[in-house]
């Protein structure tokens, strides 16, 4: 389909065509593309706050002892940093931005199945975020439990835990509703000729993610309510002083929060799977293997939560079962990595910013995955559990993986979203800062973690100083990279983007940049294979 088939009568989705104009039109929109941007802006704002909190922690940790704030403030800050980054950014993250913007277009749909529910999910997200913000200022001081809300600390501490927990509870509903919406969209709204196995792999990943969102999130919801029940009504669920069991909390928490890691990473893998064929101009290698591995991760991922609890004193039989299952869930991720790298073989590789982010993703995610094996093995997990090794590992997965995939996706679909190009050179410089800063920041944490440096420590022994200082310098480089990247993307000077700047094959590249409000006025042509570069 060429540009001529879209006459001027179809203005871009960015132009207000209805009765409402400006901000009112945006806040009442049911267009999946606009809702994606609503999420993008909100996530961007929270990400900047979360990153600043992280930078203050790195500054505080530059030297042993107190630099400029005390331990209670430090504890509140790492709690808020975790709450924001996990619940407001990476759990919704790629699903709500790219799942909303490109997934319906990729399957040839004009919108998601329930557009109003989609907008309502965004409002729930904002409400949940607002309650988390309120928890910081109202009541008896900002929560200091860590994002994990481990009982019985969370049921005893004097700080404002109830508000923070309620915020997370509301955010859970936003996630469930988005999941339901996307499952129905993918089942019911695919354009007639697009069968499941003609679908691109991002929709596959979004589909697997959506099932986890729907099936796992209710568990965290009820668990958080149990904390409130214990705090308010003194019902003894978790606190042994009331007859409860603190280990029960950990089971319930991780039954959700481990699958939640796959809620974060699966759509990230989906984005990488779109970027690599485009910039290699090659059909994806192992289409079915990648599609099924997403489902395998979503399935097996439910049964590995116990690996967060190897030192908790749970049954020694359960321990080895969880260890074995944890190792098995590593295999589908490895399959994806091998398929991505093989897709580059004999391709025609263009190292544009999205491809650089995708390659950085593969490197960082591989480090995150391989260090995960150290934690899956019982003997070695005992040594690294609750140390900064874990902090480094999950930042490699969540920031190096999910974060870099998000930035890669943003640089990939940016011309489609806004109809403009960004400065490629500046984007490459920002990428360089981010990649270098990231590794300087988190790699030393592996080293001191092996030496026993515990996590969530306000202060540390002098032998860890050098590594902590390298980390802090890395943190600042990362911050500089983020500033350059944000300025580069959002200054209003880029030239107009062509419809298909990177030579992509999926349906979104057949639409004008930016797309019209109604994506497809006639059903699009569907090729037999979504990555057909022949």
């Amino acid at each position: 389909m060429t540009e001529e088939s879209y006459p001027i009568a179809h203005p871009s989705y960015l132009v207000d065509t209805g009765k409402r104009k400006g901000i009112k039109a945006w806040l009442t929109t049911c267009d999946h593309k606009r809702i994606a941007l609503l999420y993008l802006w909100s996530i961007m704002v929270f990400f900047i706050i979360g990153a600043i909190l992280g930078e203050t922690m790195r500054t505080e940790l530059f030297r042993p002892g107190q630099q400029f704030y005390g331990p209670q403030t430090y504890n509140a800050i790492f709690t808020l940093h975790g709450l924001i980054m996990i619940f407001l950014i990476v759990i919704p993250g790629l699903t709500v931005v790219f799942g909303n913007f490109v997934m319906p277009i990729m399957i040839g749909a004009n919108d998601v199945a329930f557009p109003r529910l989609n907008l309502f999910s965004w409002y729930l997200y904002i409400l949940g975020a607002a309650v988390v913000v309120v928890s910081q200022f109202a009541g008896s001081g900002p929560p200091d439990t860590g994002w994990t809300f481990y009982a019985p600390y969370s049921t005893q501490t004097h700080t404002n835990v109830i508000a923070a927990v309620s915020g997370a509870f509301i955010l859970g509903f936003s996630s469930i509703l988005t999941g339901i919406n996307f499952i129905v969209t993918i089942h019911r709204l695919r354009t007639p000729k697009m069968t499941f196995f003609k679908m691109p792999l991002l929709p596959w990943a979004v589909y697997a993610t959506a099932w986890i969102q729907v099936l796992a999130t209710p568990i965290i919801g009820i668990t958080l309510l149990m904390i409130i029940g214990e705090r308010v009504f003194r019902i003894g669920f978790f606190d042994p002083a009331l007859g409860g069991d603190p280990i029960l909390y950990q089971h319930l928490f991780w039954i959700y929060s481990h699958p939640a890691v796959y809620i974060m990473i699966l759509p990230a893998m989906g984005v990488i799977t779109e970027i690599i064929p485009t910039f290699s101009q090659r059909r994806i290698f192992g289409y079915k293997a990648i599609a099924f591995s997403s489902l395998a991760i979503a399935g097996v991922g439910y049964f590995v939560w116990g690996h967060h609890m190897f030192t908790s004193g749970m049954s020694k039989e359960a321990i080895w079962v969880f260890s074995l299952l944890t190792f098995l869930v590593a295999v589908p991720s490895a399959i994806k990595v091998f398929n991505w790298v093989t897709t580059m073989y004999k391709g025609s590789i263009d190292l544009k910013p999205p491809m650089l982010y995708a390659m950085a993703f593969i490197f960082l995610f591989t480090i995150g995955g391989l260090t995960g094996l150290v934690q899956g093995a019982l003997a070695t997990d005992i040594q690294v559990h609750d140390t900064s090794f874990i902090v480094a590992h999950f930042h490699y997965i969540i920031f190096g993986g999910v974060g870099f995939a998000f930035l890669g996706g943003l640089h990939y679909w940016y011309p489609k979203m806004f109809g403009r190009l960004y400065n490629i050179r500046t984007a490459n410089i920002a990428w360089g800062f981010l990649f270098t800063g990231f590794n300087l920041l988190y790699f030393p944490q592996f080293v001191i973690g092996l030496e026993g440096m515990p996590r969530r420590y306000f202060d540390y022994l002098p032998q860890f100083t050098l590594s902590q200082q390298i980390s802090t310098v890395g943190g600042y480089l990362l911050g500089i990279g983020l500033i350059i990247m944000i300025v580069n993307l959002f200054r209003k000077s880029g030239e107009k983007a062509p419809d298909n700047p990177w030579g992509g094959k999926t349906l979104e590249w057949q639409l004008p940049s930016p797309p019209p409000e109604e994506n497809f006025s006639t059903p699009p042509n569907v090729s037999d294979f979504p990555y057909d570069y022949d």
């Binding site: 399959i335 899956g376 003997a379 040594q383």
Partner: protein, 303 residues
């Protein structure tokens, strides 16, 4: 780091080397291929991509080989962990108590210490107890760690094999002084150990008031030697005149029975000038009135 300080070090470190070895191999392989392809098949050098169809044999290979490798890793991780569960019968038993934010160690015969002194080559079983929230008992040099969970009888065992001092960390986040909840293991000869143990005070010789203060984790924030932790020190507190903030107004009070009871039951009512509100919870119902009297009697002795 690889010191052989306990009987577990060798086995655990072997698994570390195995997993890191295989990990680095795959990391270099994947990264190396990726960079090689990016250069060799760069668009400038290789403008037309070759379309390569899926290869079932290759897919099966890279499903099977990683599966075998991870099952091996699982096995060795499990095998090196097994001995940590089975405690030898001749182990010396030490009761470890974690409270916000201090460790204490009770030896057979009821003697108590704040550091863990152990005779070399004697297997020891640590019975882990918490009086408040979850703590984590970690001795990195010995490769051991176990959570200390209230209401649950967790344990660990090991055999110290080298003389010296080793760090103990609390690894499970437990509140404001979490990062200061450390102690030391001192591994000494059997002879030195016997001397040291004999010189320790008996736990039962402790004043009742102090026991109550320890049980409720008061001394995690209120020191007994005059140093400033989270809040005012107990040393010399009774009978002192303090400046407090009540409902936003500054006033002076004399620390007496009434004031102490009020600040335990309603800690946020009068805040000593210079300290933060909202950190201490109310102990109403948790510390009984007769216990309060014993605490006050004890505080009077802390001059």
């Amino acid at each position: 780091m690889y010191t052989g300080a306990s009987n577990f070090v060798e086995g655990v470190d072997w698994v570390f080397k195995l997993i890191f070895g295989i990990g680095f191999f795959f990391l270099f392989l994947i990264t190396g291929m990726m960079i090689y392809f990016a250069i060799r098949y760069n668009r400038k050098r290789h403008p037309k991509a070759e379309q390569i169809k899926d290869n079932i044999a290759l897919e099966i290979a890279w499903i099977t080989i990683p599966t075998i490798i991870v099952i091996l890793m699982f096995y060795y991780g499990y095998a090196a962990f097994q001995p940590m569960i089975w405690v030898p019968r001749d182990s010396m038993q030490v009761k470890v108590t974690g409270r916000m934010w201090q460790w204490s160690f009770e030896y057979p015969g009821g003697r108590q210490a704040n550091e863990l002194v152990l005779p070399i080559n004697q297997p020891v079983k640590l019975n882990l107890h918490s009086v408040d929230v979850i703590h984590g008992f970690s001795i990195p040099d010995f490769r051991v760690k176990e959570d200390v969970v209230p209401g649950k009888d967790n344990y660990m065992w090991f055999k110290p094999q080298r003389l010296g001092d080793y760090e103990i960390f609390c690894t499970a986040y437990c509140g404001v002084r979490h990062s200061y909840m450390g102690s030391k293991v001192r591994v000494v000869t059997q002879k030195d150990f016997t001397h040291w143990l004999a010189a320790l005070p008996l736990a039962s010789a402790e004043p009742e008031g102090l026991t109550i203060l320890k049980k409720n984790a008061c001394i995690g924030c209120h020191s007994m030697d005059g140093s400033k932790l989270v809040s005012v020190s107990f040393k010399g507190l009774f009978g002192k005149t303090e400046t407090v903030i009540t409902n936003g107004k500054q006033r002076k009070v004399m620390v007496d029975d009434t004031y102490i009871i009020a600040s335990v039951y309603e800690p946020d009512k009068d805040i000593v000038f210079g300290y933060q509100k909202g950190i201490m919870k109310s102990y109403k119902g948790l510390i009984k009135e007769d216990e309060m009297k014993k605490i006050i009697d004890y505080l009077k002795t802390l001059k």
